[in-house]
């Protein structure tokens, strides 16, 4: 597992205590891998964790610090009354549900967070690269209302990735249920494209899912959370061993059915 050793230092330290309704969230973890999956059933507190990291939510008690290139950036520290606004954080977000701006075309949506780079790459070039990579050529001029649900989601991922890549190295990409509702083949292609592109910029990803199959496809580090607590953190094969058996059983069952 060369990838695991390559980036063993923590890129983000998260400690959150927060009450939402009946759920008491109490989690602490470090992000050390290029792609980490926050895995858990709905209602386990995953989205609350994402919203706290993004800065959309002020937790009751929290300390959230990014460490890129040896610089500590304290984004939330309730004890010291530090709370950095979302747009100033070293974080870019694709929230749950594809909230594409209805008054902008697909291309203008993707370009929303694009910035030209110090190496001379223009914002437009980054946008065009994402349009090609995510196979959005046919959609770029359309209005979001003309897109299917799966297409909107793909555009939302491209839009967030462009924003993260525009910040350059030292930015975390947060994806909340990014691939839910995509057909499986398209999802796997999308994951490969995204991973290839983000590796170039060394942009780490934290994505949320309740789908074990997606976690295996990503082959990523998994943080399993249930009832507001971190149950286990580690490579997907270890953390989701039980889910893997269940998935294989399901697969065998469908195979038998189709043979019969």
């Amino acid at each position: 597992m060369e990838g695991r050793l390559m980036l063993s230092d923590s890129m983000l330290s998260v400690k959150i205590e927060h009450r939402v309704g009946a759920l008491t969230l109490d989690v602490a973890f470090e992000l050390t891998q290029p792609w980490t999956v926050l895995f858990g059933p709905s209602g386990s507190g995953k989205t609350t964790v994402m919203r706290a990291i993004a800065g959309f939510l002020r937790p009751d008690h929290a300390r959230i610090v990014s460490h890129f290139y040896g610089n500590d950036f304290v984004m939330t520290d309730t004890a010291k009354r530090i709370f950095v606004s979302p747009h100033k954080r070293s974080v870019r977000v694709a929230a749950q549900g594809a909230t594409l701006f209805p008054h902008l075309t697909v291309r203008d949506n993707i370009a929303f967070g694009a910035r030209s780079q110090t190496d001379g790459t223009s914002a437009a070039q980054i946008v065009e690269e994402s349009v090609e990579r995510f196979q959005l050529q046919g959609l770029a001029g359309k209005s979001p209302s003309m897109l299917s649900g799966g297409e909107r989601q793909r555009v939302a991922i491209a839009r967030a990735a462009v924003a993260a890549v525009s910040v350059g190295s030292g930015c975390l990409l947060l994806l909340d249920e990014p691939f839910t509702g995509q057909d499986l083949q398209l999802r796997d292609e999308l994951i490969e494209e995204l991973r290839d592109w983000l590796t170039v910029f060394k942009t780490p990803v934290l994505s949320v899912t309740h789908d074990a199959g997606e976690a295996f496809q990503l082959g990523a580090e998994v943080i399993k959370i249930a009832n507001g607590r971190v149950v286990q953190q580690g490579p997907v094969d270890e953390v989701l061993a039980q889910e893997r058996i269940r998935l294989l059983d399901q697969l065998n069952a469908t195979r038998k059915e189709s043979r019969a």
């Binding site: 979302p86 929230a95 839009r159």
Partner: protein, 221 residues
């Protein structure tokens, strides 16, 4: 004169109302309630009350009035500028309230999406909230304009009915009736009614005025 006043009032009020309405729409608590109450005050107050206090404030009887006279060399009352100040205050709720409703109807998901893509609050407002609430911007402008054209009490108190300077249509209608000149009064009134009907029809009919308002986030789960 009426038209000049209405155009100037609408232009200045939009500049004031946009940030004010955004603050109200995104604010909460006692401060927000207080500001909303003050903005709505001209809706319930007799215009003569507003006119009276503005007259006093602009005149030489009070310290701010004397300061103002010292600054510009003459009293603001009974001038076009004085009338403009009164109009702006009196039409404030008509400019602010449609905007607040329009801004509040923009789903929070879009605002968070923009912030999560790195947009600062000013850009979130100008690139996302304002274009999505553009119908309410037009509604606000039309209502302010129409209301200023139809204004009477404040104009009478502050303007003093000076031909060519502060005499508006609604005031000249009052004069005509006082002189028992009903034919001319009728012509003026018909103009005012026709204008109001056209303006209100525009608000309810124009394509796009209400279309984008209140559109919810396209949530795909």
């Amino acid at each position: 004169m009426t038209l000049r006043l209405a155009v100037a009032t609408t232009a200045i009020l939009l500049v004031i109302a946009l940030p004010l309405a955004w603050w109200i729409a995104s604010g909460r608590g006692v401060a927000r309630a207080l500001v909303q109450a003050i903005v709505a005050l001209p809706l319930v107050l007799p215009p003569t009350v507003l006119g009276f206090y503005l007259l006093i404030l602009m005149g030489p009887l009070t310290a701010p009035g004397r300061l103002l006279i010292g600054l510009i060399g003459h009293p603001l009352a009974f001038t076009f500028s004085g009338l403009l100040v009164g109009s702006i205050l009196y039409s404030l709720p008509f400019a602010v309230q449609p905007l607040v409703a329009g801004f509040e109807a923009v789903d929070k998901g879009f605002i968070e999406a923009a912030a999560g893509l790195g947009a600062a609050p000013v850009r979130v407002f100008s690139s996302v909230v304002l274009p999505m609430a553009r119908g309410s911007l037009l509604t606000s402008a039309i209502l302010t304009f129409t209301h200023t054209v139809g204004e009477f009490g404040v104009v009478l108190m502050l303007g003093g009915n000076i031909p060519g300077a502060t005499r508006t249509l609604s005031i000249s209608l009052y004069d005509l009736v006082q002189d028992s000149n009903y034919d001319a009064a009728n012509r003026t009134a018909v103009v005012l009614i026709a204008f109001a009907v056209v303006a209100l029809l525009a608000i309810y009919l124009l394509p796009g005025v209400r279309k984008l308002d209140g559109r919810q986030a396209d949530v795909v789960r």
